[in-house]
Amino acid sequence: MNILVCLKQVPDTETQIKVAPDSKSIVTDNIKWVMNPYDEYAVEEGLRLKEKFGGEVTIIGVGPTRVTESIRTALAMGADKGILVDDPALTGSDSLGIAKILAAVIKDLDYNLILCGKQGVDDDYGVVGSNLAELLGIPQISIVLKLEVSEDGSTVKAHREVEGGILVIEAPLPALITAQKGLNEPRYASLPGIMKAKKKPLDVKTISDLGLDAGQVGESGAKIKIMQITPPEERGAGKIVEGETPQEKAANLAKLLHEEAKII
């Protein structure tokens, strides 16, 4: 079973994000970049299926050279090879642009299953997976908590959480799955794994290698545009409720909730 995992590199979730002076991007100096946490579930699931069915796991990333580090991390976890699409023309791509690039890489590959994280934790669009499935014309099951591939490798059954219950969906392979937190517990890249990963193949491609032109991707090909990024409002000072007795304090609190907070 050949599995493709699409991977995004995002700022470490502990990073203090600062908005850049242009108000449309973030300051990237001193950011620690890591594999998107949802993509870690996708990589782990791919590795588990490979352990069960055999075959290969290929990691596909899009972005600048630094993304190789995250691809190598996935290789260190146990994936077999990596592909990075790195091209200056990609800057400013929207989700559809990224999906087009991934589709261009994937159309020449032999695969049974594509795994993606359900969303990138940086811009949280959550649509690359579905766009990609549409471009490839294959079934897609999103936000998956549990995955079973049939013994003969012809179908996949996925569990999704819905309000008050679990929805079980089946699709023929090849299909695309997006991973939700809880799908599995991703392994660490072990030290021997990291050392071995250095020798695993990692191809770097440009958009012309993929037969795309600059107008289809990057800022010029984007269908949506970021107008403004604003940081969350700073929290104001707290308030201490006055009162001599607990009763009096409770009465004052109720009054504040009613008149100031207007929530009761």
Partner: protein
């Protein structure tokens, strides 16, 4: 990159693995382990499986390979668990395995190294005695050759991981007085005549087990001798360079964590109607702390790079250790001061950092011994 960097892609990937290991396997339980006075033994094989224990050791003996900066990245990230005791406990192999690697025969290396790097066995270093610490040439534990065995009598004091260790890289006297009479033996804990005290209660490093070890007519096979008889002293001295580097890194990280905690606290805590960071006196204190930490870190990295290149750095690493400890003494003191009464409470990390820091200018050679070493170089 326009300047020489010490850490590259592999180091960063290893950092991420160790950070995850710390977040998942250590941090949630670390306060409990500190109070209990030990961490579970299962942590060794878990770290062994991830290949973390093998950093810096050859793959032929189950190691993970890597240069000196990979070891540094490992210690730095592990220190982020907030308990130097856990780091010292897992790290006791880093003072007890290098002499085996340096002086051991092929047979000794393949027998005594792989199980420790896998985490199946615990290794400790036994030098200090009730009457000999820094004065290594004066150790009293005697080993007398009788047939195929050394018969060992004496005791070892303040042994990190000593309570649980399966094997001890141990300094013994096989010859006459002075440094020429000292040899290194690997003594296994299941050898008849080997016994261990209760765990010793310490000021800091609570999560690591420390013990006294006794040898009573302890029969150690002659094939457990490392190198030749009488070569122990130089082996021990060489090994100290490793330990001093590791302790320098620990001191820098102790100071780094104390600084980070203080920065956080100074922004949150209000006094007289404004955050502590609103007072010039606090800001300047934080600036001094940050400056010292930065300078010490760069100094230690530089010395490490030279060690890695094979240069003699005995003077420099002794200076680096003293400097790093001086910095961590000052920074942990100021961190508690900034935290006020809360800094004296166990719930606050700076309280532990302050206690854990105290051993760093004693272990691996005291500040005073470092100065004696340095003085020999600069007055020569």
């Amino acid at each position: 990159m326009k300047f020489q960097e010490y850490f590259g892609e592999t180091h960063n990937m290893v950092r991420q693995t160790i950070r995850k290991f710390v977040e998942r396997e250590i941090k949630p339980f670390v306060d409990e382990w500190e109070e209990k006075g030990e961490f579970p033994e299962e942590l060794y094989p878990k770290a062994g499986d991830a290949g973390i224990l093998g950093i810096g050791y050859p793959e032929a003996y189950g190691g993970s390979g890597g240069d000196i900066f990979l070891k540094i990245a490992y210690i730095e990230e592990l220190m982020r668990c907030g308990s130097a005791g856990v780091v010292a406990g897992l790290g006791s192999l880093d003072i007890s395995i290098p002499p085996i690697l340096a002086f051991g025969t092929e047979k000794q290396k393949s027998r005594f190294i792989p199980p420790v790097l896998k985490g199946d066995k615990i290794a400790a270093l036994g030098i200090t005695e009730p009457n000999a610490g820094s004065d290594v040439a004066n150790i009293q534990t005697k080993a007398v050759l009788r047939g195929n065995h050394y018969v060992v009598n004496g005791s070892k004091m303040l042994i990190t991981s000593g309570y649980r260790a399966n094997q001890l890289t141990c300094a013994v006297r096989t010859g006459g007085e002075g440094y020429k009479g000292i040899s290194l033996l690997i003594i296994e804990s299941d050898t008849p005549g080997y016994s261990v005290s209760e765990k010793l209660r310490k000021m800091g490093w609570w999560a690591s087990d420390t013990a006294q070890i006794f040898f009573d007519e302890c029969q150690v096979p002659v094939e457990n001798l490392l190198g030749k008889e009488g070569e122990g002293f130089s082996g021990i001295m060489e090994n100290f360079q490793n330990e001093r580097l590791q302790l320098s890194i620990m001191a820098n990280m102790t100071a780094q964590l104390a600084l980070e905690e203080s920065l956080k606290y100074a922004k949150e805590r209000e006094a007289f109607g404004r955050p502590l960071s609103g007072f010039q006196v606090t800001r300047h204190k934080l600036v001094d702390m940050a400056t010292l930490v930065e300078a010490s870190r760069e100094f230690v990295y530089r010395v490490a790079a030279k060690i890695d290149a094979g240069e003699n750095q005995v003077k420099e690493i002794s200076m680096a250790k003293n400097f790093a400890c001086m910095v961590s003494d000052k920074v942990t003191y100021d961190a508690v001061q900034i935290h006020g009464g809360f800094g004296y409470m166990r719930e606050y990390l700076v309280e532990r950092l302050y206690r854990d820091n105290r051993i760093l200018s004693i272990g691996g050679g005291t500040q005073e011994i470092m100065k004696e070493i340095i003085s020999k170089y600069i007055l020569a």
